[in-house]
């Protein structure tokens, strides 16, 4: 006979083991859903793109300067779309990167704890505004403003969308920068102050260099958001794929083109239809590599102090 103390050591009854197993399987299934979806999307992208690249050579696609899948003669040079995306991304970076960094510095190093406790949640709310709202904001507020300042501005233009995208990604930059500064150990600040550093020197020459990889990671993540941003550019930047560096003209980004084709009456199975996947694949590759870069930088950043 086993005593009760001995009995306690043995495995529970079979029904309990079965329950543990069921829960485990359920959790694994949930995890699998997201992985399988992602893989499936990539597979579809690759498959459909392959159909496109049977008709159009990748070289022509990547180096052509005219994008006209719907007109005769057809032309599949993706550069105008890439250029449009680039205009918006660079413009939004000009708005968001410096302003976000400065906001992050203020929040972490200058704001009193009480001010910070108010501002930080507000920033996070800002990050939750639907992008369609930013799109209307660009169209009905920023564009008229630009037209008033620069008379040649077109009704749809890259600059207006870029500013709105910049405002949209600013909270993210500010918030990640703030986190990066907060992660700098206070003992470093104390050490600097004890050497007779002024606050400006502590911030610019101790905290900022120590948090630099976090700042860069926030930049890369923000740029990746800007590249993939769709609603704002669809509403405000126009639908005119052209190779231009003038931000006051109408352009078309890769994302806006995808929206246009998805909504339009492009017959499935045609080359025009397959452009959707080719452009989507290119977009995916760009944002994916940006995210990988950001993750790399963040990992380095985490290792810096311990």
């Amino acid at each position: 006979m086993r005593s009760s103390q001995q009995q306690a050591l043995f495995r529970p009854r079979r029904s309990q083991q079965w329950r543990e197993g069921a829960i485990r399987a359920l959790l694994a299934l949930c995890a699998a859903v997201s992985v399988v979806t992602t893989v499936a999307i990539v597979v579809v992208l690759l498959w459909e793109s392959a159909l496109f690249f049977r008709e159009v050579s990748p070289w022509e696609f990547l180096t052509g300067t005219r994008w006209a899948p719907k007109f005769q003669p057809q032309s599949f040079g993706v550069l105008p779309l890439v250029c449009g995306t680039l205009l918006v991304v660079v413009g939004s970076a000009l708005v968001a990167l410096p302003a976000g960094l400065i906001t992050g510095i203020y929040l972490s190093e200058y704001a009193r704890p009480r001010t910070r406790a108010v501002l930080k949640p507000i920033l996070e709310i800002l990050a939750g505004i639907p992008t369609v709202v930013y799109g209307y904001f660009a169209l009905y507020f920023i564009t008229p403003g630009l037209m008033a300042v620069f008379p040649g501005t077109e009704r749809f233009n890259a600059a207006s969308a870029a500013i709105a995208v910049g405002v949209m990604i600013l909270p993210m930059v500010a918030s990640i920068c703030d986190d990066a500064f907060q992660a700098v150990p206070d003992s470093l600040r104390q050490g600097a102050y004890a050497l007779g550093a002024r606050r400006r020197q502590v911030v610019l020459r101790v905290v900022l260099p120590a948090a630099l990889s976090g700042v860069i990671a926030s930049y890369v993540l923000a740029l990746s958001r800007a590249v993939g941003e769709t609603m704002i550019v669809t509403l405000a930047a126009g639908a005119n794929p052209q190779l231009t560096l003038n931000p006051l003209e109408a352009i078309q980004t890769m994302t806006a083109y995808i929206v246009q084709v998805s909504l339009g009456d492009t017959p499935a199975g045609t080359v025009e239809y397959h452009t959707l996947y080719a452009v989507g694949l290119l977009l995916f590759l760009i944002t994916f590599s940006l995210n990988v870069v950001a993750q790399r930088i963040l990992r380095r950043f985490r290792e810096e102090y311990e």
Partner: protein
């Protein structure tokens, strides 16, 4: 080198720092309660007492390192050579340049050994003879021989004890008059601790040193004067030898003999 320091009874030393009726509160909590204390020149003064007795807070008040602590209020005065450190037109940056500080946990910057010291010189506008000053500071801190061949390696690669000596070198490079040390050995092993104590003996003639320690043996070994703080009150202050062998207060006696704390 380890004999107990001589105490001049007839020639009172000139006080460099005078703490007068100093009270420091965190919100409503009193951390330092009406403390008055004269810190003598070119001597080592130890501040001892149980955890939470206010000794670090008191130390940090001596070079205005408490300025950035939210909710901290002060009453009373801290005089440096007769000047109130908290007077409106006193620049805290200049205060900290003359009254340096070394912290509990070594906190070198994530830069090279050389730059750790050169940085303090640069922000204080010292541009002449920087390499010589770096070398002198490292020699004063008894670190030069260990690091002279790898000055441009990261300071974070040094051992804890070396890092702490680097932090001392960093403070000494600015040629301060007073050096405040907040439990500088509490994160170090006994060998590193012994090296820092040796270093203190070498610095004693040149600098006025105030050291906070929870290690009574350390206070007895290195200091000329000892202040015993308990619950924010200054219980006793006097020559170390007297405080440890013939304390005037019962509470001091209980503490230094290890009956509490």
């Amino acid at each position: 080198m380890n004999q107990s320091p001589p105490v001049e009874k007839d020639a009172p030393a000139v006080p460099v720092l005078q703490v007068q009726e100093l009270t420091i509160r965190y919100g409503d909590k009193v951390a330092v309660d009406r403390v008055s204390l004269d810190i003598p020149e070119t001597k080592i003064t130890a501040i001892i007492g149980p955890s939470g007795c206010g000794k670090s807070t008191l130390l940090r008040a001596l070079n205005r390192m408490n300025d950035y602590i939210e909710g901290l209020t002060m009453q009373g005065r801290v005089l440096y050579r007769g000047v109130d450190l908290y007077a409106k037109d006193v620049d805290p940056v200049q205060v900290r340049r003359r009254i340096g500080m070394v912290f509990q946990k070594p906190n070198p910057f994530p830069k090279s050994i050389y730059k750790n010291i050169a940085w303090g010189l640069a922000i204080n506008g010292i541009r002449d003879g920087v390499p010589q000053r770096v070398e002198r500071a490292l020699q004063q801190a008894a670190l030069w021989d260990e690091v002279k061949d790898r000055l441009h390696d990261s300071a974070l690669a040094l051992s804890g004890g070396q890092q702490q000596r680097l932090c001392i070198a960093r403070a000494l490079a600015l040629e301060p008059e007073v050096l405040l040390m907040d439990e500088p050995c509490s994160a170090l092993d006994p060998i590193s601790t012994a090296r820092i104590e040796d270093l203190l003996f070498q610095l004693r003639d040149t600098y006025t040193i105030v050291i906070v320690t929870h290690n009574m043996q350390q206070a007895a070994r290195v200091s000329d004067y000892t202040a015993f703080l308990d619950g924010g009150h200054l219980v006793e202050f006097g020559p170390t030898e007297q405080v440890f062998t013939r304390p005037k207060e019962k509470r001091t006696e209980d503490y230094v003999t290890g009956r509490f704390g």
